[in-house]
Subunit: 460 residues, 2 copies
């Protein structure tokens, strides 16, 4: 079919431009020296603009509309039907954004990411404040065009979790808050008499941490022939296509668990991406519109599997072989440590209980920004107030507070709820897996985690 050929020609053009943008993003995050910022940003923005133009072009629209005509559409196979529908929906949304505004969005996002990194490093919110203000304004403006009938923040949530609304989330989160805050208080009271952490004062060599990371990734099913691991300020996963899925990690000498659980978390994302149907590669069909589902995968590995002592039974000797420091730490002490509840500042290192409160806090911050229009200069104070209220601590500085996450600097407002939704989905997944495969404890104890990976790859 001629029209289909035209579509695939357009998809190829878009895929190439997208690949260039992704590669610049990856390089800027993982490799690029400071001296390259100016020139690379210019080129990156140029290709982001090109990509936006391609995705909203008249040629593409013509092809998609033609293919959507009833008598043609019904002849398409299910994959192509899905691609046509999804691309047309995206195009119809994005074409409403004035070109000038779209370009502004691209520029401010690139700039904000660099300034956020500087701000976090120097723990100086003022280095990021202006960019945050611009990002918020641009996003509000954009959603006014794409979703004029919707509340802007609801539109943002819908972007990452199709069909979800803040009304639903409000209900879920209020319920959680009511249970979790008193529970946390209780647990902390009891923790007062608990043993000191076996990790306290210990330092772990970074190159051996990397070895452990690689071992764990292989163990849970990450395919190194279709992926790599880099190092960044904030761990993330990015996928070019199912044959090239990249994750990053961040290591601390005095916090070996951070790198271990970030690796397992991003590994979960990556395994999901590496196992997407290659037919969908390089088109919107390969993307995921339910980041809650995506996060359910990463958080399933991280929490349901990784924080289970049985996960470690078959491999703890291997970990000790790589890093003899673990010889001083019994498996039981280790297992206790990885589920210890601690009211600390950093979300990515949080236990399962406080993690929920970290997310609720961010969700409320985003509502404060987009619904109550709280000015940017008051946000750090608001953040700290909420930390006191939910976690009973006050961040020592903004790096440990409002500057800790990269999401907002990339314009990703409305993403955070996905993490918690992911955890909620995980409860359902666990039930279903146990019904079909039997006890997860047993599977883990026997070193058969790949059975679970295979199940997830097939079913999700």
């Amino acid at each position: 079919m001629e029209e289909l050929e035209k579509l695939y020609e357009q998809i190829k053009r878009i895929r190439r431009a997208q690949e260039v943008c992704n590669l610049f993003y990856w390089d800027m995050q993982t490799v690029m020296p400071a001296g390259g910022v100016q020139v690379h940003s210019d080129t990156y923005n140029h290709y982001e603009r090109k990509l936006f133009n391609m995705e909203t072009s008249k040629e593409l629209k013509d092809v998609l509309e033609k293919l959507s005509e009833e008598d043609i559409y019904k002849q398409l196979n299910p994959t192509n039907k899905f691609i046509v529908k999804r691309m047309l929906r995206n195009l119809e949304k994005n074409e409403k954004i004035p070109r000038k505004l779209a370009n502004e969005n691209i520029e401010i996002t690139t700039k904000a990411q660099f300034n956020w990194k500087r701000a976090k490093k120097n723990s100086d919110y003022s280095l990021f404040e202006n960019d945050l203000y611009s990002l918020i304004s641009v996003k509000k403006e954009m959603y006014r065009f794409t979703d004029p009938e919707k509340d802007a923040y609801d539109a943002m949530i819908d972007k990452y979790e199709e069909g979800m609304t803040s009304e639903v989330i409000d209900g879920l989160f209020e319920e959680l808050k009511k249970e979790l805050i008193p529970l946390l208080k209780d647990v902390l009271e009891r923790e007062k008499n608990a043993n000191r952490s076996v990790f306290e004062g210990k330092k772990f060599d970074i190159s051996r941490q990397k070895e452990i990371q690689d071992f764990l990734l292989k163990y849970i099913g990450f395919d190194f022939s279709k992926g790599v691991v880099g190092e960044t300020e904030h761990p993330f996963t990015m996928s070019f296509n199912s044959g090239d899925v990249r994750i990053t990690n961040h290591f601390y000498e005095d916090n070996v668990l951070s790198g271990i659980f970030s690796a397992i978390h991003e590994g979960g994302h990556a395994i999901f991406e590496q196992n997407i149907n290659p037919d969908y590669d390089n088109s919107v069909a390969g993307g995921c519109d339910n980041m809650g589902i995506h996060e359910s995968q990463s958080r399933f590995y991280e929490n349901v599997l990784g924080r289970n002592i049985n996960f470690w039974i078959p491999i703890y000797d291997k970990i000790r072989e790589i890093e003899p420091e673990f010889n001083d730490i019994s498996l039981n002490d280790f297992a206790e440590e990885i589920i210890r509840v601690k009211n600390d500042y950093i979300r990515v290192d949080a236990d399962e209980l406080t993690y929920c409160l970290h997310i609720i806090l961010r969700y409320e911050m985003e509502k404060a920004i987009f619904r109550d229009n709280v000015p940017v200069d008051e946000l750090p104070k608001l953040w700290n107030q909420k930390m006191e209220e939910y976690l009973f601590i006050t961040p020592l500085n903004d790096s440990l507070g409002i500057l800790q996450d990269s999401h907002w600097s990339g314009g990703d407002f409305g993403y955070f709820p996905s993490y918690l939704l992911g955890s909620i989905y995980d409860g359902m997944l666990l039930e279903q897996i146990e019904e079909e495969l039997g006890s997860v404890d047993e599977i883990l104890k026997n070193g058969d985690i790949i059975k679970i990976t295979r199940w997830l790859n097939e079913k999700i």
Copy 2:
């Protein structure tokens, strides 16, 4: 001037496309997993074609010809004069290449680089042989178009060393061969009674090798705010512009000197690139048409400075601090080792004496390929014969022989002589530096190497 603005608009377009190609190249060499080859190659080739089209476009030609008109040209400043002349010359050369042939060249070069890596890894020449054949044919064909009046191999040499011919090189190299082969024989005879290497049997941790590398690079003047270091099969330097210059290294546990001297060598290239006039950034004017001069910089650091015991006097304690294995090796033993003459297989690890013979061998191989049309399946045998004749050893396999260098797989025929020309220039540089700055031995001993770096940055 309106025409000048148009030119700079074109230069910006070209710079962006060039940057995309460079970034893909960098990524394919340093990061990309095997599963990404197919898709990334397609995109890389696409942008290489685009770049070629831009560099030979009618719009660019019109602007350059307009700016070359006498009354306009004379109003240009020296930088712009240089840019116009150089770009027009390149355009007039490249536009003679039929588009189809140019595309073929792009495709085969990308493919050949992957296959060479596989071939080298598996020490299986047959995995690379067909690509080498195609590369040779395409290059011959291309030079028939761009330099119909010239011998193809002379045209290739001219590409890397403007104005140089094989006649001049023949004279130089024949003379060297006459002196060096008997000298090598003599030295080897005497070496028979020399002590065993103090490095024999020792293993060096790779992460500490990297620490040493970073220390050395900083010490000689590499600016990490304008550069990074990656890891590849074969070390190289690539420059986006003076603010982002990248080098790579390769490490062997059982050969710590390889990583050390590769770092100093590539560091020399990079320091040169980081200090090019930023006015020339992003245009052909920032490029170097005398790779012999480029190699004179890398080889000056590697050999004239790095193989001088005085280089190590102020820093040997620091090296020992990073890698305690060096505590067993006295500075004198170390200094003796780094100038030890050894007839070994690998060029990049060769001492100064045998290095020359490695280059002469490659130069003669290239003449055999392009002048005598020796078939590709006979090349490994010819390589090994020459190794026996000049270095008295036979490579154990093709990885240690004809497959060791990456140059041919990238289509870089005619480059090798630049290394030796660089060494010849270095003799002159040393003389001039000592005249202006005093004894290099003293400067090194006092830890003042930055004085030399500054001199080189200013004068070269």
